[in-house]
Symmetry: C2
Subunit: 334 residues, 2 copies
DNA sequence: ACTAATATTGTAAGCGCTTACATAAATAAT
DNA sequence: ATTATTTATGTAAGCGCTTACAATATTAGT
């Protein structure tokens, strides 16, 4: 692989000049520029990005921490981020945190050691203090789906509380009064916020919240299955079930079928996230839209704008949850 | 951030010695080692991996090309790969190829320029010649889900033809004789292979293949929907439908329901891949297992073994498709 | 104790590039 | 034409690390 030195020799100019035409960051006369470009072409020259990074203290890569690499939610998020960065010639280095504090910290350190120019984090398990501490180091941070006090301008998020409220409210409007709730792990902010929104909706409508009808699941399909089973076995009546996310909702749908509970005729089920296959389920899942791909893009744009000084328009930090009506909630109970 | 130089000063040794204890690749007396380690700790020293890469001509990162970052198939694949590399302290740099020849080439070049030590490619659109050419350069290649002649020992793959055969055969055994097929894009090797397996199964059982009952879809849900609709409209009778992958199968399931075709009572549907949510669908999808996460892991192990000389046991290149029986195929038609 | 062999450490030359600064060439101002 | 500006190019010092090779210290052999 040809080096910048060989190019400079062939073109009959200095290293610095070649570097200038490569980086387009200083004036070079058209004549020399042409010579250099031609030399680069005949040698098939490609700058060594490691060397560039070392010399410029810029790695042109950004670290991305997600909880898991699989799953529809993170898939969409990564997709949004990677495409945005690719377009700008930046690299994405991913690491999984597995919702575990130590693993998240390890991953972050791993990314920092790799000299990432910026970090985009979907961090669930580390504390706010840790993140605030981290933000004081020189590496710029962007958080997704987490609002940390003091770091508000670095957080791309959706109002989960409002989403939870919206989901429940939409069912109240249809006449439901007896609710069950399958929550995500309540130590996770988003799971807690969604539940809080649910409770607020009930409160505002003067409905009673039965603590026995709250099940804490794991945000995965089997959590939904177990949830329905458990709630059903309590013997308490309910006509609507609000799920902390779509994956649990899909489990709820499956288990309802196994228990011969008709959805939406006997109970209505609503999810959260609007993951790609919400539409494949039977019945098609009514849910709250979480525009995670767009939010990933936005986080990437934020980084491009601030770290790489590539001006972006239409930056946005806050996203609004929206109801997506499909077939899993009955039309009118009254 | 402290440099190796500062560590060497504090420890009262040379740069080289510090480097030796960091890399554990040369003997250092216990006494000096202790001094160095203590100095590293008090300074909070972390080696700059960019500098390490430049000096050692090793980036400790491997490039991963996938078609998309989202979707259950690639999610599982990335998951397998990343976890394997993380455990070995290697970085994964991902790029999406979007099943487009030019994009795939761009992505590969992008990864090479980043000085990846090895490449793991799920390349669909580039030609065999291109890959063979690439394999002659110094960067080691591993291919997933593609068997290229001459590169057999670099290919981690599943016998798609056999899988297609197996799917169809399982239905023939149940007594089906009239088949429709919803294929993936036939320019893709795996889609073509699966279809070939299907045809072979028919041939071996002396069943006739009706070309009108082959629909070429896009490997996505709407492909399955359109497929069913189109096939249904041909007016030709069929009692079983074999799908090129699970996503299309899920679309087929949905559309069948909309057309009031009962699955599996009126037609049996079988998929391919056994993606995570095959089990969430209604009816639960019978399919062919594609152990893509394991295969990703295996590709990673191959790289660890050969590029990084970290010995691995249980290396395996070939994987066997297996039938996963659920509810979308009828038990016995006869 | 003295040499040979071996184990440990140090020296210094890069890896391929960027960039402050110095120099030279071209242009403008007088 | 002469000096002041501006523009284009070159020089060389790193960026933080690895690694031949050289030098020194230690141990073994006799």
């Amino acid at each position: 692989m040809a080096t910048i030195y060989e190019v400079s020799e062939l073109a009959g100019v200095s290293l610095a000049t070649v570097s200038r035409v490569v980086n387009k960051n200083a004036r070079v006369s058209d004549k020399t520029k042409a010579k250099v470009i031609s030399a680069m072409e005949t040698l098939g020259y490609r700058p060594n990005s490691i060397a560039q990074s070392l010399a410029s203290n810029r790695s042109n890569s950004v670290g991305l921490l997600v909880s898991e690499l699989h799953g529809p939610f993170f898939g969409a998020m990564m997709s949004g981020i990677e495409s945005e960065f690719r377009g700008a010639g930046k690299h994405t280095i991913v690491a999984a945190g597995h919702s575990d504090e130590q693993t998240e910290k390890d991953s972050i350190e791993f990314l920092i050691n790799r000299n990432c120019d910026a970090l985009i984090l979907h961090a669930e398990a580390v504390s706010d203090e840790y993140l605030i501490q981290l933000s004081k180091q020189k590496i710029p941070l962007t958080l997704i789906n987490r609002l940390v006090k003091g770091l508000e301008d670095r957080c791309v998020c959706l109002d989960n509380e409002q989403g939870g409220y919206l989901a429940t409210q939409s069912l109240i409007e249809k006449g439901h009064t007896q609710f069950a709730y399958i929550a995500g792990p309540l130590w996770k902010n988003d799971a807690q916020d969604r539940l809080n929104g649910h409770k607020r909706a009930l409160r505002e409508s003067g409905l009673e919240q039965n603590p026995a009808l709250i099940y804490e699941g794991n945000f995965q399909q089997d959590g939904g299955r177990l949830g329905i089973e458990t709630l059903h076995n309590t013997g308490h009546a309910f006509t609507a079930i609000v799920c902390g996310n779509d994956e649990m909702a899909s489990g709820a749908l499956t288990m309802s079928r196994e228990l011969n509970i008709a959805v939406p005729q006997q109970i209505s089920v609503i999810g959260f996230d609007n993951i790609i296959y919400a539409d494949y389920l039977y019945p098609k899942l009514t849910t709250i839209d979480y525009p995670v791909q767009l939010m990933g893009q936005m986080a990437a744009k934020l980084v491009l704008n601030e770290t790489y000084k590539i001006k972006q328009n239409e930056l946005r930090l806050h996203f609004i949850p929206k109801l997506v009506t499909r077939d899993s909630c009955d039309k009118n109970l009254m």
